[in-house]
C-alpha cells in the first residue's frame, strides 16, 4: 500500500517535468490551428483527424491534442485534403508509416478478423439456441388455444 502511494506521489511530482521537456518554441504549422476555408473540405479533414491517434498523448486523437507532432499532422492532413487527396488515402499513408496503432478505426486483418466475426458467430449461436427452445415448446403442444 505504501509502495503504491509512493508510486502515485512520484508520478505526480515527475509528470510536470515530463510534460515540460516536450516543448518547442516554434510557431505551429500553418494549418495546425487554422481551418480550411471550404467547410466541406474542413469536415473531411476533421473526420480523419478525429480518428488518428496522437503519438505523444496516445489516448487522444490528433484533433484533441496540442502536442506539436499532432499539430504538424493536422496541418499536413488539411494541406493534403485541400490538394484533393482522399482521407482514406492519407490514413493508409500514415498506417504505412506507423502501423495500425495510428488509426482508431480498426481494419480487418489476419489479426483483427475475430473481432468482426465474433458478433456474427454469437448471433448465429443465439438464433440456433432460440430456435431449439421455441421449437421444443411447439412440439410439447405450443401455446394452449
Amino acid at each position: 500500500m505504501s509502495r503504491l502511494l509512493l508510486v502515485i506521489v512520484l508520478a505526480l511530482t515527475l509528470l510536470p517535468s515530463v510534460a515540460a521537456r516536450a516543448d518547442d518554441t516554434m510557431p505551429p504549422a500553418p494549418y495546425a490551428y487554422r481551418q480550411l476555408d471550404d467547410p466541406k473540405l474542413e469536415a473531411k479533414a476533421q473526420g480523419l483527424m478525429e480518428t488518428i491517434r496522437c503519438l505523444t498523448c496516445q489516448s487522444q486523437s490528433i484533433a484533441d491534442s496540442d502536442a506539436s507532432i499532432a499539430g504538424d499532422m493536422r496541418s499536413q492532413i488539411r494541406e493534403r485534403i485541400a490538394a484533393g487527396e482522399e482521407p482514406e488515402a492519407i490514413r493508409a499513408w500514415l498506417v504505412e508509416r506507423y502501423g495500425d496503432y495510428i488509426t482508431y478505426t480498426p481494419r480487418v486483418t489476419s489479426l483483427t478478423w475475430p473481432l468482426f466475426a465474433a458478433p456474427v458467430a454469437i448471433l448465429l449461436v443465439a438464433a440456433l439456441l432460440l430456435r431449439r427452445r421455441f421449437g421444443r415448446g411447439e412440439r410439447n403442444g405450443g401455446p394452449q388455444a
Partner: protein
C-alpha cells in the same frame, strides 16, 4: 431427464465461472505486464522517402535523400535543441562520430540560434544538419518523437530504428547494425 443430460448440465454450470476466471486472468495480465509505449516505424527495410531539407545551422550543409545513398552506411539522428534526452545522447553520438561513423542530423522544429547554442554546448557530431521546421520528414519516416536514430545503408534503405536517447550501452548495438548494413 436422463443421466447423461444431468451430467451435461452440471458441467455447463461451471462454464460461467471458467469464463469469468479467463477474463480475470486476462485483466490481471494486462495490469502487470510492462507497457511499451513506443511506436516503431514500419519503414524499416524500405528506402527513405525523397526529401530536401535546408541547412539548419551555419557551416553545415542541409540534407537530402541523395546524400544518404552514396554507398556508405550511416546514422540519421532525429533531434532538437529543446529535447533534453537529445543532450543526454550527445556524448554517445560524439563517440560514434569519433569512431568514424558519419552522423547526419535532422533538427525538428528548431530555431537557428537555439540549435547553434545547443551544438556549442553539447558538441557537433553531425556531418550535415537538415532543418525540419514542420515535422514533415519526421512524419514521412514514421518517427514518433525525438530523439530517434535510424541506421541507413549505402543504398538509402532504412535498416534499423533506435527510439529514444542512445545510452552508452546502445553504442555497440548501433555499431553492429551499421556493420550489418555495410554487408
Amino acid at each position: 431427464m436422463t443421466e447423461a443430460s444431468v451430467k451435461r448440465r452440471s458441467w455447463a454450470l461451471w462454464l460461467p465461472l471458467v469464463v469469468f476466471g479467463l477474463f480475470a486472468a486476462l485483466f490481471l495480465w494486462g495490469l502487470v505486464r510492462t507497457k511499451d509505449d513506443t511506436v516503431p516505424s514500419r519503414l524499416v527495410g524500405r528506402p527513405l522517402p525523397a526529401f530536401d531539407l535546408p541547412a539548419a545551422t551555419d557551416g553545415k550543409p542541409g540534407l537530402k535523400h541523395a546524400d544518404l545513398a552514396d554507398g556508405k552506411p550511416r546514422l540519421l539522428n532525429v533531434f532538437a535543441s529543446w529535447c533534453i534526452p537529445c543532450a543526454a545522447e550527445a556524448p554517445q553520438l560524439a563517440r560514434l562520430a569519433a569512431a568514424g561513423v558519419e552522423v547526419e542530423g535532422v533538427a525538428i522544429r528548431d530555431h537557428r540560434e537555439d540549435l547553434a547554442a545547443f551544438l556549442q554546448r553539447n558538441g557537433n557530431p553531425y556531418h550535415r544538419i537538415g532543418a525540419d521546421d514542420l515535422g514533415k520528414l519526421q512524419i514521412a519516416i514514421g518517427s514518433s518523437g525525438v530523439p530517434e536514430t535510424y541506421v541507413i545503408d549505402g543504398k538509402g534503405v532504412i535498416r534499423y530504428q533506435h527510439i529514444g536517447d542512445i545510452t552508452p550501452d546502445d553504442v555497440a548495438l548501433l555499431q553492429a547494425k551499421l556493420k550489418e548494413a555495410a554487408l
